[in-house]
Amino acid sequence: MLELRHINKAYAADRQVLLDLSYTLQAGDYVAVMGDSGVGKSTLLNLIAGLDTPDSGEVLIDGVAISSLDDNAATKLRRQHFGFVFQAFHVLPHLTLSQNIALPLLLNDAPLERVEQMLAEVGLAGRGHHFPRQLSGGELQRVAIARALIHQPKLVLADEPTGNLDPETAHDVLKLMRKEIKANGSSGLIVTHSHAAAATADYILNLTKDGLQPVVQEGHN
């Protein structure tokens, strides 16, 4: 479903971030990517989302090279097939919860019927008319998860989704995210520093200078 082919990315001559990276993600997989700071995790996410272009190599989504698309086509691809969960939630303060969640549907010109159901699934049933300022951090991230999955994307990209949350809330959110990704038949790629977070994925990859290396799982629950 997602295939990385010989990706190279440098921000400056002496700052090579990704070197000849290749990897293939199967549909329905939910993987966690770990790695040291500055090793290129976020760059990898941006490349996958088409928000950045590799110096060489290709990112293929269902065989389509996203890096070959222009901005508009890439954006359209993203709005249909991608969901995003951010560390800082990025829930728009001036939209209600329903409106926030409905955003991808509006962008895709899709019917809004799933919004209430999604709200209920992330445990915020009946609170669609609330504004984000009435919510806690964990709740905001639930809204973000709902927004990421409302349009049943092929791939959910999550960048340190629990970085701003306490461990207990983080645990709930991660569980919810895994459940929703699986329930919607999406694939997932979560970038994190947290072993606890990574542990909720199907398997863990370690991003190093030498590429993505599978990590032997120490335990799975």
Binding site: N72, T75, F82, F84, L92, P104
Partner: protein, 851 residues
């Protein structure tokens, strides 16, 4: 320790400015523009006024007291009496009048030369500047019976040199004088001629008459008591005034005009202050985390407050200094190109030069800095009061900014404004009128967030049923649910648009009224004037008969007009005697509704019709009995009606010509209005007039030309208000630019997220333009209402109170729509340009927290 704090605050200030240089430049520019505008208007006005009073002072000299009559001229036999009067050291007789220069008759409003007749032996002590200088040094040539001395400006204007002949009109005669020399100490630009008093009396028909007598008192004489005694001794025909009174009088002539300009400039400065406020507010909200962090790290509230205020102060200082320099340059240029009266003809015949007074510069500097600090204090206070822990959390901006909106305050402002409109003028200035305007603006701007929340929620709900379009949802939701952040951009638009609307409505109403009025006051086809001959009008009975007997006219109305002084501290009023249809005076005079039917007139008292200014300035009311000095005595009249006069803001009175002739036995007239017979063209009629024996000296005007010219003068005098409007609009657009770019920066993460989830660049731009456009539309809607309200204040309060005339309301829909469209497009464009960051590559990275 102090040093460290200082360098910290410097780092913070420079860091902030480096990051947002454009915004801060715009704010600095706005302050500079506001200060420049106020300062330049002040400079121009002061220069013009100073020059005008210096010019009139150089004419009136260094006397202790002046004796005037309530008419322009009085019997010279008062002069020897005053010379012998106890306590008078020197009495200087002066004859002052205007003469018509035949060669300049074409320029209708600029064909008169001021002539002063002086006694050189007496004038040396009081007004030495008026002594003519002969080339040969032959002093006695000053007494020659054909000698006239001209100021350099007059020589240039008349294109004559020493030794040349100069022709001047006296009544229907032309006389020739010799330019005997110059008045080297006349002020630059001052057009003036000086002659020997005896020669002037003789050649210009003022035998036995003087205009004023200037007195120097003996040492040790108490000025006050002497003045009071002399005033009493001379009786009611004469006024004894001091030089200071003269200055007051000169200042009074243009005071309303000057104050009005200054007020407009202050309103522009106020718009600038609002811009400072919005920029500071936005900058502070953007930096909430930074400030919260500083608080956490140990900066006290007071230090933080000082930090923010310092930013404002530095901006204020730079902007104000820039403004002073700019203002000086603008003033110098305006005086050079438009003249000291900015084209309004309030200060004729002078050429002022700008004088940079340190005091004035300091005052405007302080105003500029003060206004900036005022704009900073509320945001600074908010920043200092914010709880650091709460501020560190994201998403609270709208809550924080909400604190800055005070609907109760807005309502209080509007209510107060309403009350102020009901208050009378303060020392003849519409102070409360202007306060009401400022309060309306403040109140309107403060009410803006409420209004926009209400308006856009309504739109959002209306659209909700359609449920389509992410962009429109995003736009409307933001405008409806974050009204404070949105509308902070709007203050400038609102302020400048309402000012423009107000000025446009006022100027249009005024212009239409003046146009109508001109139609009413110029019913005849031709107006023919003759130069005055001494204190008599130029047409004596013979000439009147000759004109009336001409075949080309169906009707000839003769007018006799002259100046009267009713109050020595006020400029002269004009007395116009003409045939008036008593049964319906509105056929000859542009009457207001305030008039008394002729059946109700008291018997045995002559009627007069007074201009609106007479009502305001002298308390004349319809039906009231008043006394006026007509002829040699004062007579009683009753006020039969009030008419509208846009030509003479200091007051005018009309009376029946026959009444005037009975009282004065003065059968002469200055002007004749002529109605053409059918089939006679104006040029044929003019030819007939020119063929009269005295035809060549007549000043013949077509009513159409007078009308055109009057409207041209009108337009020219409002030129400066257009300039003010443009500056206000620029400030308003700067406001849009700064607040949009500030908000774009503040919302960078929002755009980053939107780009992630699939919003296209173009959509973000559309969103920004739509936000800008919608906000501007709303701002203009509110601005229109505010502007309309302000124009009502200008038309029905400010104008009557300062200029003593009323007018009817006329709305210039066409130009208002054009202005609105221009504003809308420029605001949306500005928003777009300011928001171009929002689609830059960096945006997508902004979603990350760990950078």
């Amino acid at each position: 320790m102090q040093m460290k704090t200082a360098s910290l605050s410097r780092w913070l200030i420079f860091g902030e400015w480096r990051a947002h240089i454009v915004q801060w430049l715009a704010v600095t520019l706005a302050i500079a523009l506001g200060v420049a505008l106020g300062f330049s208007i002040h400079l121009i006005n002061t220069a013009a006024l100073n020059e005008f009073s210096a010019a009139s002072k150089s004419l009136s000299g260094q006397s202790d007291l002046q004796v005037h009559s309530n008419q322009p001229f009085f019997d010279e036999l008062l002069f020897p009496k005053l010379v012998r009067h106890q306590g008078v050291e020197l009495a200087n007789p002066v004859l002052e009048f205007d003469v018509v220069v035949p060669e300049k008759l074409d320029s209708r409003n600029d064909h008169k030369l001021k002539v002063m007749g002086i006694d050189m032996f007496r004038a040396t002590a009081i007004s030495p500047d008026l002594l003519g200088v002969t080339e040969s040094g032959e002093q006695l040539d000053r007494l020659a019976d054909d000698a006239i001395f001209l100021s350099p400006a007059a020589m240039e204007w008349l294109q004559v040199e020493q030794g040349d002949a100069l022709q001047l009109n006296v009544g229907v005669q032309t006389i020739t004088l010799r330019v005997a020399g110059g008045l080297v100490r006349a002020r630059a630009g001052q057009r003036l001629a000086v002659m020997d008093i005896g020669v002037a009396q003789w050649r210009f028909g003022y035998l036995g008459l003087l205009s004023r007598i200037e007195l120097k008192l003996s040492p040790g004489v108490n000025l006050e008591s002497f003045k009071a005694d002399l005033d009493k001794a001379l009786g009611e025909q004469f006024f004894v005034t001091e030089a200071a009174d003269q200055e007051t009088r000169v200042a009074n002539m243009s005071r309303a005009y000057r104050v009005n300009l200054n007020m407009l400039a202050l309103v522009a400065l106020f718009t600038g202050a609002f811009l400072v406020f919005s920029t500071q507010a936005l900058s502070i909200f953007r930096r909430r985390h930074q400030f919260a962090l500083l608080r956490v790290l140990g900066m006290t509230r007071r230090q933080l407050l000082r930090q923010v205020m310092q930013e404002g102060a530095v901006l204020g200082v730079i902007g104000s200094l820039l403004g002073l320099a700019l203002g000086y340059a603008v003033a110098a240029m305006a005086v050079h190109f438009l003249g000291g009266d900015l084209g309004s003809s309030f200060f004729p015949g002078i050429q002022p030069s700008i004088y940079l007074s340190p005091l004035a510069a300091t005052i405007f500097f302080v105003i500029g800095v003060g206004v900036t600090l005022l704009g900073s204090i509320v945001p600074a206070w908010e920043a200092a009061q914010a709880k650091p822990a709460a501020a560190l959390k994201s998403g609270g901006e709208e809550m924080a900014i909400r604190k800055l909106s005070f609907p109760w305050f807005a309502m209080a402002c509007l209510t107060l404004a309403l009350i102020f409109t009901q208050l009378p003028a303060v020392s003849e200035l519409p102070i409360f009128g202007y306060l009401a305007i400022v309060l309306l603006l403040v109140g309107g701007i403060a009410l803006m967030p409420r209004f926009s929340a209400w308006f856009f929620s309504f739109l959002l709900r209306a659209k909700g049923s359609v449920d389509s379009g992410a962009v429109s949802t995003l736009v409307l939701a933001r405008l409806a649910n974050a009204p404070h952040q949105a509308s902070i951009a709007l203050g400038g638009v609102l302020a400048s648009f309402s000012l423009m609307v107000a000025m446009a409505i006022m100027v249009t109403s005024f212009r239409v009224s003046v146009d109508d009025w001109l139609g009413q006051v110029l019913p005849a086809d031709l107006y023919v004037r003759a130069a005055t001959s001494g204190h008599q009008g130029g047409f004596q009975l013979n000439e009147q008969k000759a004109v009336a007997d001409l075949a080309g006219f169906t009707r000839a109305d003769f007018f006799r007009s002259q100046q009267l002084i009713l109050d020595p501290e006020r400029p002269e009023i004009t007395l116009i005697a003409r045939p008036i249809d008593t049964s319906d005076p509105s056929t000859t005079i542009p009457m207001t509704d305030d008039l008394m039917a002729s059946e109700l007139w008291p018997r045995g008292v002559m009627p007069i019709w007074v201009s609106e200014a007479m009502v305001d300035l002298y308390g004349y009311r319809v039906g009231k009995l008043v006394t006026l000095p007509i002829g040699d005595k004062t007579h009683e009249f009753f006020v039969a009606g009030v008419w509208r006069d846009y030509g003479r803001q200091f007051g005018a009175v009309q009376m029946q010509l026959s009444d005037y002739q009975v009282l004065t036995e003065d059968m002469s007239s200055n002007t004749v209005a002529l109605w053409l017979r059918d089939g006679v063209t104006a040029s044929q009629a003019e030819r007939m007039l020119r063929q009269l024996s005295f035809g060549s000296v007549l000043e013949i005007s077509h009513s159409g030309d007078i009308r055109t010219l009057s409207l041209q003068i009108f337009d020219r005098s409002f030129m400066v208000t257009y300039l003010l409007e443009i500056v206000a609009v620029i400030i308003g657009l700067l406001g849009v630019a700064t607040s949009f770019s500030a908000q774009t920066l503040a919302r960078i993460k929002e755009f980053g997220m939107l780009r992630h989830i699939g919003v296209m660049r173009r959509q973000i731009l559309v969103m920004l333009a739509a936000e800008g456009g919608l906000l501007t539309t709303l701002g203009m809607m509110l601005g229109f209402m505010l502007g309309w309200a302000i124009s009502l204040i200008l038309i029905f309060i400010v104008n009557p109170q300062s200029f003593h005339w009323t007018m009817q309301l006329h709305l210039p829909w066409g130009s208002l729509f054009v202005i609105a469209a221009v504003m809308l497009v420029s605001a949306a464009t500005t928003a777009l340009i300011a928001g171009r960051h929002a689609v830059s590559g960096g945006v997508v990275r902004a979603v990350r927290e760990d950078w």
